[in-house]
């Protein structure tokens, strides 16, 4: 096989699409950590729930777009309920409690889903117009991967606008810096936390719905991506949205290019990358510089 410019560009584009999913996931995790100071071990579980939400709604309505929208909404609602009834009572207690709770939640929900849907992968069919690749001068990329890249871009623009230009977004940003002050101003901060958690897991749900079409919806599907997502967030710096984006891009490219030259190292490579970055910047690339 000849290593030429087309191949390298292909590899870069596939890496970008890979990174886009990590960005969706990592942004959600970052919002939750930045706002609530909670390390959400159940993030992969919400990703899995998004995949099944897409499966169920696409099966019922036969529409891919309804599947995507329902993944964010349904998973966001589940997140809302989870935060209100399970996580909220633990605020102010040892940080280990919510960590253990989300870990236990992920085990319980995964088992529950296994009981309901079994262990055989559920298909979320890809719409016909997404099947196939765009080819130009030896460079190609599957149409659906292009969609993933633009979808993530759209989500990032929305998040930027939301956090920078809307009142609610600015309140959330303020709450991440000094929740006591925001509370003093008469704002219902616990409600803001609930919203932030729902938004964060909703993004994970969206990522799950996207990936359910190119993998399969499976109860165990959230396990591996949770670890990878933590790597992305740690590389970028805990609590930093910009860091989550950069971390996702880096990890996408690392996996893509290591797969080309030394495929059996692709899994290990992301951890080596994390190690190298942490050796240089112990708080990650954008850690501490700016939360949300």
């Amino acid at each position: 096989m000849e290593i030429n410019a087309s191949l390298l560009i292909n590899q870069m584009l596939f890496g970008l699409a890979l990174g886009a999913v990590y960005i969706l996931m990592a942004c959600g995790l970052t919002i939750i950590f930045g706002l609530l100071d909670i390390v959400n071990f159940a993030h992969g579980t919400f990703y899995m729930l998004g995949a099944f939400a897409a499966f169920v709604t696409v099966s019922l309505f036969g529409n891919f777009w309804i599947g995507l929208a329902s993944a964010i909404i349904l998973v966001g609602l589940i997140g809302w309920v989870t935060e209100t009834f399970l996580i909220k009572p633990l605020y102010g207690k040892d940080p280990l409690y919510p960590l253990m709770l989300t870990f236990g939640f992920s085990l319980a929900v995964t088992d529950l889903m296994r009981g309901i849907f079994g262990t055989v992968g559920r298909i979320v069919p890809l719409p016909q117009f997404f099947i196939g690749s765009i080819v130009w001068e030896g460079v190609f990329i599957p149409k659906f991967r292009v969609f993933i890249i633009f979808l993530t871009l759209g989500v990032l623009i929305f998040l930027w606008y939301f956090f920078k230009k809307t009142n609610l977004g600015m309140i959330i940003r303020a709450a991440t810096r000094d929740s006591l002050m925001v509370r003093t101003l008469g704002i219902d901060v616990p409600r803001i936390w609930t919203f932030g958690f729902a938004l964060g897991v909703g993004l994970a749900g969206l990522a799950g719905a996207v990936n359910s079409t190119i993998q399969s919806a499976l109860p165990d599907m959230g396990v591996e991506i949770t670890v990878e997502c933590f790597v992305v967030v740690v590389i970028g710096g805990l609590g930093s949205l910009g860091g989550a984006i950069l971390g996702g891009l880096i990890i996408g490219q690392v996996i893509s290019f290591v797969s080309l030259f030394a495929s059996d190292w692709s899994n290990v490579a992301i951890f080596i990358t994390m190690l190298l970055i942490l050796l240089v910047r112990t708080r990650g690339l954008f850690g501490e510089a700016g939360r949300l």
């Binding site: 191949l7 292909n10 890979l18 069919p125 196939g132 190609f140 996996i255 797969s259």
Partner: protein, 408 residues
């Protein structure tokens, strides 16, 4: 007061009744990966074992008693499997264990069984009849991984093309299949274009697609299993590659994979199976197996169902023949050369290396035409004589064990 007494007495009686059942001494312990990346296949394997147990009990059980067999989850981890087997062997006095669905795990369990002088019936593709792994306590109701590699490679080089590339899951099973393909390729004039190692559990193969397209082989061998197999097929389909010229050969495919891949599992896909449900048209006893399985579980049996069924049934029948459930030496003696006519015509556990003498079925996809139970068509059945090495070769783990794998 009378009512209360009646309720208390009823509860007591029911408890007594069920405690009687529960205290029946288990005679075998079977573990399957009911969670983890191979859980769908593990569940199928368990279903096969359940059917075999039910049939044996319907015919009078083992040594005149209802057979009690413990079934559980090994969580797809060798350490957990061994811990659970040990608990059951030490705690319940069980001398026969079975199950597992991974070449690596079954090798570890086999080693433990040998050290502890326990009979082990592996239900999966495993190398325990080879070389130093061959310790005398292990039997296999699946097959040796190289067999599906040899069968699919022979079929591919005869019918599909010569140039090939392979994606290999980076563990024992994948390595065995790869070495089989490399060996057959050399013998049959195949042109090897490259290998991509894939970590166990990988579900996104998109980063490998540019390399595959740039290499442009006639045959792409998908040497991965479980969720990874479903994922790579979907991603090749997503990129629009599954309905072009390239042929795809899966040494060990699965009914669930064909189903989960949907229309992407086109006529360009050829998969090796140790059992496919349409074999019922060829073997009358397979028809009964398929019908009974479907009646009990509502879906056709897969090769893992067959592995679980054959392994469990043979183990329990051997106990009846040997007239013991705990004398390991007698059980091994009985199982050596044990003749069976279950699902695929006359077969046996070869006396020298304890491997089931069974064929490989090549199933071709039918793409969008798939409906109901109809997922593919059997295009060939490669007899065991064409895939299984001699006793001497297996004992010395040649030729496949001596192949230098790329990058290793």
């Amino acid at each position: 007061m009378k009512k209360v007494s009646l309720i208390v007495a009823s509860v007591f009686l029911v408890t007594l009744l069920f405690s009687g059942v529960a205290s029946a001494k288990p005679i075998a312990a079977l573990l399957f990966p009911l969670s983890g990346p191979f859980s769908a296949m593990g569940t199928d394997m368990r279903k096969g074992s359940e059917l075999a147990l039910e049939e044996i009990n319907a015919k009078g059980g083992v040594l005149g008693q209802k057979a009690e067999v413990i079934m559980g989850d090994d969580e797809f981890q060798a350490a957990i499997a061994i811990r659970k087997y040990k608990e059951m062997v030490d705690g319940q006095g069980i001398k026969a264990i079975g199950g597992t669905l991974s070449g690596g795990i079954s090798v570890a369990v086999n080693e433990w069984a040998c050290k502890n002088k326990v009979l082990y019936m592996s239900f999966c593709h495993t190398s325990i009849p080879l070389g130093k792994e061959q310790c005398g306590y292990g039997f296999v109701s699946g097959m040796i991984p190289y067999q599906t590699g040899v069968a699919t490679a022979k079929y591919a080089f005869q019918n599909l093309g010569k140039s090939w590339m392979i994606v290999t899951q980076d563990y024992r099973f994948g390595h065995d299949e790869l070495s089989a393909w490399l060996t057959v390729s050399e013998k049959m004039g195949g042109k090897f274009l490259g290998n991509i190692y894939s970590p166990l559990g990988q579900v996104d193969y998109s980063a490998h697609i540019p390399k595959i397209v740039a290499t442009n082989p006639e045959i792409l061998v998908i040497n991965v299993y479980g969720q990874s197999m479903d994922a790579i097929i979907k991603q090749l389909g997503e990129a629009g590659l599954t309905n072009k010229k390239m042929k795809f050969v899966i040494p060990k495919s699965h009914l669930f994979t064909i189903k989960a891949s949907g229309a992407f599992y086109t006529e360009n896909f050829y998969g090796g199976h140790t059992f496919y449900w349409t074999l019922q048209d060829k073997f009358p006893k397979a028809k009964k197996f398929v019908e009974d399985y479907m009646k009990k579980h509502g879906a056709p049996p897969s090769q893992d169902s067959d592995g679980g069924y054959v392994g469990t049934r043979a183990l329990l029948e051997a106990m009846n023949v040997a007239k013991t459930t705990t004398d390991v030496d007698k059980l091994i003696k009985t199982l050596k050369g044990f003749k069976m006519d279950y699902n695929k015509g006359p077969e046996e556990f070869r006396a020298c290396d304890h491997i089931r003498t069974t064929s490989v079925v090549i199933v071709r996809g039918i793409g969008a035409k798939a409906s109901g139970m109809n997922y593919g068509e059997v295009v060939a059945e490669i007899p065991w004589q064409e895939t299984l090495e001699s006793c001497e070769n297996n004992k010395n783990d040649v030729p496949y064990g001596k192949v230098k794998l790329p990058g290793k």
